[in-house]
Subunit: 421 residues, 2 copies
């Protein structure tokens, strides 16, 4: 444990996570990041109830926070919904601005490329050719393809032959935007990257074999294939299994879109075209398609399949559905979503080391530090409370709602391995 006067030269590592759920790939990335940066304190900014792919997290944020604490993270702060359910650029700007604000001086991300210098040079090169790139993107968009596809094609043609990042890889895209956000913020955050490991790896400390499977594959086994937790023990640390078991006991099921479908269906059915058009990301007449199609489908999966077009990625449509479910308007986002200026830091959990770091930083913070949602009346925080309530709505008995207002950060003693709250 460190004292207040030692804070200056400490390595404060920031990482950006969803932990949906926490698995061995995350553990590998966490340990490799700490090793690489020689971090003294690790801060994770974690998405709350709804995630970047436009899906509800399979477990609530508190359950996922407990996983993160047991994995060794010192401070977990919430990435607000206004950033968490967004394309890579806004998502990254929000996450990096939070890590910058809390006082991190390192940021380490997983990437397919694995070479941080390549990220930095690519950001600089793109900046230099920004207008040319934008022209190309617009050209490609006119042919009716989705934005990510247009971007990737434009990028390839503008930088053909150049030694530049492969931006068709999902983690490279995020890493690129993290490095870009650092540049835009003129932050002292130093970027690092760890090459993503897909193969299986052996953890010396543990006796049984661990396999890295993607969170997507794990969720598929749990939700679509309805496999019991025992069937996937080799992909998940024991504390993740334990936490998922608790989630199942409390909520009766893991969280997935199908259970929210009745509310989405109800919301679309009872909306006028004008009301749908006011929803964030509802563009180009999508409101009429939705109103026409909603009476013809009987599941979320069916809805996705009929709404999907070449123009929009699956993820883009799912994000729209989250915004419809939460009734998030364009004007709300215009007013409150300032990507590089997170309005507050909300603590979800901390180790004792994390708590000491926070109290040493407290007075220097330029934005409010929130430990209880009831402390501060801010529209972005209210949205996160609403997101959490809606996330829990189909699951909790007697129509009760996740108690977000009263919840306090989870405290964990890493040495003793026990929760203090």
């Amino acid at each position: 444990m460190f004292k207040k006067d030692e804070v200056g030269p400490l390595n404060i590592l920031g990482i950006v996570v969803e932990y949906n759920p926490f698995h061995y790939g995350h553990l590998y990335h966490l340990r490799a990041s700490i090793e690489k940066t020689k971090a003294d304190v690790t801060v994770a900014v974690m998405s709350g109830s709804f995630l970047q792919r436009g899906e509800p997290a399979i477990a609530d944020k508190w359950t996922r926070t407990r996983m993160a604490l047991q994995a060794g993270i010192d401070i977990i702060i919430e990435l607000p919904y206004i950033y968490s359910t967004q394309k890579a650029e806004i998502f990254s700007d929000g996450a990096v601005s939070l890590l910058h604000s809390i006082g991190c001086n390192q940021l380490c991300f997983g990437s397919e490329a694995g070479d941080v210098a390549l990220f930095q040079s690519s950001v600089d090169k793109v900046d230099a050719k920004e207008s040319e790139l934008n022209r190309e993107i617009q050209q490609h968009l006119k042919s009716g393809v989705s934005y990510p596809r247009a971007f990737s094609a434009a990028f390839q043609s503008v930088f053909e032959g150049d030694n530049i990042l492969d931006l068709s890889q999902p983690n490279n895209i995020l890493g690129y935007h993290y490095v870009k956000a650092i540049k835009k913020l003129e932050s002292k955050l130093k970027p690092y990257t760890v090459k993503r490991e897909k193969a299986q790896y052996h953890d010396k400390e543990l006796t049984r074999e661990h396999i890295i499977a993607s969170a997507t594959a794990i969720r598929k086994k749990l939700i679509e294939e309805k496999q019991p937790l025992e069937a996937i023990y080799q992909y998940l640390p024991s504390y993740t299994l334990q936490e998922l078991k608790g989630q199942l006991q409390r909520w009766g099921s893991f969280v997935h879109w199908e259970k929210h479908f009745p509310y989405l269906q109800y919301r679309i059915l009872t909306s006028s075209p004008e009301e749908l058009r006011n929803i964030y990301e509802c563009e180009e007449g999508l409101e009429y398609r939705l109103l026409k199609l909603i009476t013809k489908v009987s599941s979320f999966q069916e809805l996705m399949e009929v709404v999907k077009t070449k123009r929009y990625t699956w993820t883009r449509i799912q994000r729209l559905f989250v915004h419809i479910l939460l009734n998030t308007t364009k004007s709300f986002m215009e007013e409150y979503c300032k990507p590089l200026e997170a309005p507050y830091i909300r603590i979800l959990g901390m180790s004792e080391e994390g708590r000491h770091f926070l109290s040493s930083r407290k007075k220097e913070l330029e934005i409010p530090l929130i430990t209880r949602a009831s402390e501060w009346d801010h529209p972005v925080l209210q949205k996160d409370v609403l997101a959490s309530q809606l996330h829990s709505l189909p699951y909790l008995k007697n129509h009760s709602l996740q108690e977000e207002f009263k919840a306090i950060p989870i405290r964990y003693d890493k040495i003793k391995g026990i929760f203090l709250t």
Copy 2:
């Protein structure tokens, strides 16, 4: 059966019903009305999915239409939601304007008073003292009581000692407004009333004893007390029992507010104060009370109990909840709810006699005759389709919706006692 050229002098009786569900009291009223008016054809204007007390009907409109046809009614037309879920005055204006439009020349209603002359003289007396009465009502409202209470008190004091109608009785209130609507419309409809019979009565045609119980008492037995249909056979004709059995098989349960509660809860949770304030009948800061209370309750019953104040009747609050559920705005009602000018006549069911009457009248009708919701694109009709879809939402399997667009009127042969569609 009558021929077209006989239509002129026929007695075309109109009645206003909810049939929630059809019981012996309704049968008594129907037979007494036909006897009194010597009706050749009986037309019932029946509320669709949501009723005057601000509740969903326990069975869908098609099921209740089949009950009405088997009871001997010739034509069932739908009272649109814009009228059906309203205070007595708008409800009555809408119903009477429909019976007037379809060509009824008699209207017979049940009442506690039982003397139609008293209704007519009371309407005239109130008209003569309208401004005095309104002043009194405003005085009473200032003390914080509900409108019906203020009206009743004002009425008593203005007409003290006069031989005037007892307007504290619910059926007298409706009858009063029917007669008033006839006067406002300058309609040729001739009013009749049948005194409501509460005691048990014996039907000569049938061998077993029949008891008149109120629809409220019957619903209470079915829903709150969860009694089987067999337990209430003596209150209901066999066709009502049969139809209710069918409803149970198709929907799994009778319709009641608790099953709609999750949608109402979701809608309030995700509404801004401004959005709630735009809802019809959301007045005087109720939006803030609702937003505050909605996170604290876990059932419709609980919600009603905490929202209820001296200022608003139970019914008034329930109606507001229907409007919130259906997302019906003040501006929608201002634009489309013209109480004395129903925009169309929608046929839900008809006997062969009814069908002949309709084809004889068809060319003289001044508003459209709708037999299929898909035929006509009108916002009031769209609202009825939505109301029907939402009515069915918590009940139908696989999130399917009541097929309102394709539905056609139910045809019934009274002589053979068989349905033709």
